[in-house]
Symmetry: C2
Subunit: 246 residues, 2 copies
């Protein structure tokens, strides 16, 4: 009997498949939020999932600022609108038309907004694993966001990440000090439905890239050698694996 | 009937609990790797999970460099060893002793190494959602890493993130061009067992922070108001929720 079994931590095939189903049906939600409140117990579970993300040197650099105040949200929404207009100007004429038609946030209508931060000073100046790559601490907060996102999906809730906003403006509104990075500004809530595919894929903005084009061997431009034939064949065969909708 | 149900995408309570079990039992594995190979079908599924991470503007900026060559791994290991020595010097005398006793990577003994990158030029110069926050593309690659990590755990495999390495050195060894960021260098493989708790927690390096200390309301230092009483109570009650081992 393995240690994993002894610990009651062996993952069954059904549990494994549940993870894949949740991963493949997770969406970046913007336009389908309902105003219904979220149960305390659900929000609590989701935050524990985030808190158990991996973190560099176990520093747990995250905070979770829960924003329900409409006054604060309106300030955030104003900052978003300003950035959104600036962004539109950056696209080519053709893309601009599609861009302007996209709904890209649910700040005011979702049940709650959550700003996930990274406190770079947490646990002192020297952190195991951050000694050579400075960004490792904010990467930990991103892992927390992905855990939170998957847990939300598992609870039937939608989540959208708002990144079209000036960071300095966001910090000012939320009174975030210099040494803290607002890594992600999230909208969370019940939804009318989840899209079958990512919205930008459905809207024809960009296609899903074939996975085998993104896999390299031994180094950056390394092509598959003869010994990789069976693996590359498997990758191609699994192209429809992510389509779990019944 | 909700759209989620119609799509066959409603998540059951059992499926939700499976996600939490996987999240809470995920570990950063360094010292428990076995050399057994990974099945093609398992590695393929794990990479699909990574490929279905959220990405800013649906740019899918990631590549997955699979490294099996012992020659390449030895170069990486040499670069790690150099950085590791430099890092040790940075800690206080007391912490240095613990630090030196920690095994922090499984580069040579894991079944495969995977470098997950971020191609900042993918899908052109202007990306929806990256117009105001430059780091959003590498954050997408981090989300892919977290998906990959959870999928690995669900398949019974261990994963460790090696971040004690000079980035320029890593790019040189793997021939990664200027515009591509090596976001994470991962070791993946079968393991003898998973630790009951994170190693750095068990080693007394740092304690797990109480979640309620990391939750703020409306702004950075916002304390809970009267209306948040029931939620804060719930957070405290759920303190033992993550302990899923039976």
């Amino acid at each position: 009997m393995s240690d994993a079994k002894k610990q009651g931590w062996e993952i069954t095939a059904e549990e494994r498949d549940a993870l894949y189903k949740i991963i493949f049906s997770r969406r970046d939600v913007r336009g389908q939020f309902l105003s219904d409140p979220i149960d305390d117990s659900v929000l609590s579970r989701i935050l524990y999932a985030a808190h158990h993300a991996p973190s560099v040197g176990f520093m747990q650099p995250w905070n979770f600022i829960l924003i329900r105040s409409q006054e604060v949200r309106k300030k955030i929404h104003t900052a978003f609108t300003k950035a959104h207009k600036e962004a539109a100007e950056m696209f080519s004429q053709e893309k601009q038309e599609i861009y302007k038609g996209l709904k890209l946030e649910g700040i005011l209508e979702s049940a709650v907004n959550i700003c996930v931060t990274c406190d770079t000073s947490r646990s002192g100046p020297v952190v195991i694993g951050r000694t050579h790559i400075d960004t490792m601490d904010s990467y930990s907060s991103v892992c927390a966001i992905e855990n939170l996102w998957l847990a939300a999906r598992a609870e039937g809730l939608g989540l959208g990440w708002v990144s079209i906003i000036d960071e300095a403006e966001l910090k000012k509104i939320l009174q975030i000090p210099e040494h803290v990075i607002p890594v992600g500004y999230l909208c969370l809530g019940k939804v009318s439905h989840f899209w079958e595919k990512p919205e930008l894929e459905s809207a024809g903005w960009l296609p899903r890239i074939e996975l085998e084009k993104l896999v390299n061997f031994e180094y950056w431009e390394g092509k598959p050698a003869k010994e990789h034939d069976s693996f590359v064949k498997q990758l191609k065969e699994d192209a429809d694996f992510p389509l779990t909708a019944e």
